[in-house]
Symmetry: C2
Subunit: 408 residues, 2 copies
């Protein structure tokens, strides 16, 4: 426990007490920071709506146990204060949440198993998802697409379920690519049972197994739905390979649509029940038809072209911001700090939204919070680092540390 | 020959001398009528552009031979002056042509084999077309769709080719429905050889085999492309079941799009080369994805709901007219005739377009040409009839004749 920063300990506690998504808690943490938020939750002095989200478990302080369990799995808790936090992909959640979509509340932290950096894995990631009761055709296509995308340097994100998900992870592994499994249960849940070996392989071969649920959390249907927003958010686009009519595909598509991410669907024989959901998505213009890896790369490539290079100044980055975030950003100045209230007055954006948007802008390097208040961030001014536990374990610390600071 | 009206003889001659589509000839016939047009073509006194379209064959008067050959096949020449002329569906060609699309020039007449009335067959028709080198999956889908549509009272139109076309015709026949084969050669060409029996079955079992090419015309690639506009025009919508990347599907889709008809495409496995064309059409929004007969009926039903019932006054019928046609229609009066020049001045539509649009409006019963010029047609005022040859042969003339006049 010693060596873990107060922020990491606070977030481990909050991740444990609140069932995601926890919209009020997310706003509260953004406003007062994780340490004060955890303190207020523990003492019961937090706002009413935060208390409602955290009341049931707030006296259940299992942080020590969680880190011990994670240690046994070789897992770490990645938090927004870490450089490897996938701030850019998750900004989509933050912005959707600030538009009032409660179910898009961003995660307070992510338990992560595997050697790769989470932010790098999510950089040009494509999600490949679909039916558990997939056909041979569907599993072949999922495997082929995942192989081809991984071979081209795209990480393949999926949900580790049987059927399409498993085929996607295996396809990426076969190409020696990066694949990320996002679970709807704790990393130690051993679920699904038939994929325990696959999950070990993913974590051991350069991929990641991640979850916003603390160790010991059992799988549940609602958790898979909540989890789907992370699959959508962490990817540049989601490919639905096979899906029945009433399937998670619609949920995935809705999530991705809300987050402004692209949804792609693979057609199949009209005689196949597991292609019906894909055809519905395409017919309803909720998804773009993709028939080949090239089609997917085309779509994702177009998106990547719009995403600013992390190494370059974010001149065009504000293109991706929502209207409120843009107005807040425009009211910031380089040399003079302002209070959230002042920004609300100047921008005309409601104070509650300003409070939600500012941390998102900070995470992405658009804004910073100094002594005099919020202001435009200095170019390339972000170098948060934190030594010790909770960081990915790599051999040869020095070059890695340098890389982790984003100075390379 | 005696008993054939001058219009029918004139059109038989014109159909023979001009290779379709013959845009200048179509305009000329619309302006001066078929008898004078044929006379001018024969004598070489027609306008230059008409002469270019007809010069090569104008001395080749095979009308007698054509009717004799048609008689041996049990075929007739259906012309715009006949009540069974499918004026409403073909109006799409007339309007596209009047917008300057030369390749949409309407046919001058159609050689027809089979007992049904052509206008009735085309009333709620759906085209089902696709690859010759179809897969078993594609042929099954084509057959199933055709069966289901025919069973619901939709005629199934196709091109009589091997593969998808043949499966579509056979599916409709299996449902005891109406199917129409539109050929790119003369009705007596015996093409494709393997479908001669099928074509005989179509003509003998309540369907129709039609062509704008006179008897003896051999098949040719360009004729199939020209023929495609008729398949598109005669149908409310076209379903492409399977198509390779560089196939006639794109041509069919373009034709249908130009004519304001809906194009539908059936998806298939992304691993199948003959589904690539369908997927391209869907991805490019050139076609609506259909995965079931219900999907097709939905799309076609929506269209039918917009199409005025032939038995009712055409109150909403002008909804289907192009902008120019609407403006021309609006400048017509009930009690006072106007010249084309006068209408052009009043409507602001160029005189050449007015001249092309007026006959189309007349064909559809929106306008009529009286002694004082063009005027709004009297409600239900169309009762052109013509006895004798060139009409479909039915048993029991009386009720049929009544039906044919549209008085039922």
């Amino acid at each position: 426990m010693s060596g873990l920063s107060p922020e990491r300990l606070a977030r481990a506690y909050l991740v444990r007490v609140a069932e995601p998504p926890a919209p009020a808690l997310a706003v509260f943490v953004a406003e007062v920071g994780p340490v004060d938020a955890a303190d207020a939750v523990r003492k019961g002095t937090c706002p009413q709506r935060v208390a409602e989200e955290t009341g049931a478990r707030r006296e259940l302080d299992l942080v020590r146990d969680d880190f011990a369990a994670a240690g046994r799995l070789g897992a770490r808790l990645v938090i927004p204060e870490d450089d490897e936090w996938p701030a850019w992909p998750l900004l989509s959640l933050q912005l959707a949440h600030s538009r009032g979509i409660a179910s898009a509340a961003p995660p307070l932290g992510l338990w992560v198993r595997g050697e790769s950096r989470l932010d790098e894995a999510a950089e040009a990631a494509v999600a490949i998802v679909g039916a558990r009761a997939a056909s041979g055709y569907g599993e072949n296509v999922a495997g082929e697409f995942a192989y081809g995308l991984a071979a081209r340097g795209h990480a393949v994100i999926s949900g580790a379920a049987y059927g399409i998900d498993g085929a996607a992870h295996r396809g990426a592994l076969a190409a020696d690519g990066v694949t990320v499994a996002v679970l709807g249960c704790g990393l130690d849940a051993g679920y699904p049972a038939g994929h325990v070996v696959l999950l070990n392989k993913i974590a051991g071969q350069g991929g990641l197994v991640i979850s916003e649920y603390p160790p010991g959390t059992p799988p549940a249907r609602h958790r898979f739905l909540v989890r789907n927003r992370l699959i959508a958010a962490l990817s540049e686009g989601t490919v639905v390979v096979e899906a029945g009519r009433r399937s998670g595909a619609r949920n995935t598509a809705t999530s991705a649509g809300v987050l402004g991410k692209v949804v792609m669907a693979v057609p199949g024989p009209v005689t196949s029940a597991v292609s019906v959901g894909c055809h519905d998505l395409i017919r309803d213009s909720a998804a773009t038809l993709v028939g080949s890896i090239e089609d997917v790369v085309d779509v994702v490539g177009r998106l990547s072209a719009q995403t600013p290079d992390r190494a370059k100044p974010r001149a065009r980055a504000t293109d991706g911001l929502g209207a409120d975030a843009l107005r807040v950003h425009e009211s910031l100045e380089r040399r003079r700090g302002k209070s959230a209230e002042q920004i609300a007055t100047e921008s005309g954006v409601p104070i509650s939204r300003v409070r939600a948007v500012l941390p998102a802008l900070e995470l992405e390097g658009f804004a910073e919070h100094g002594e005099s208040g919020w202001q435009l961030s200095k170019p390339r001014g972000r170098t948060r680092t934190e030594a010790g536990h909770g960081q990915p374990k790599r051999q040869g610390g020095a070059p890695d540390d340098k890389r982790r600071r984003g100075d390379a």
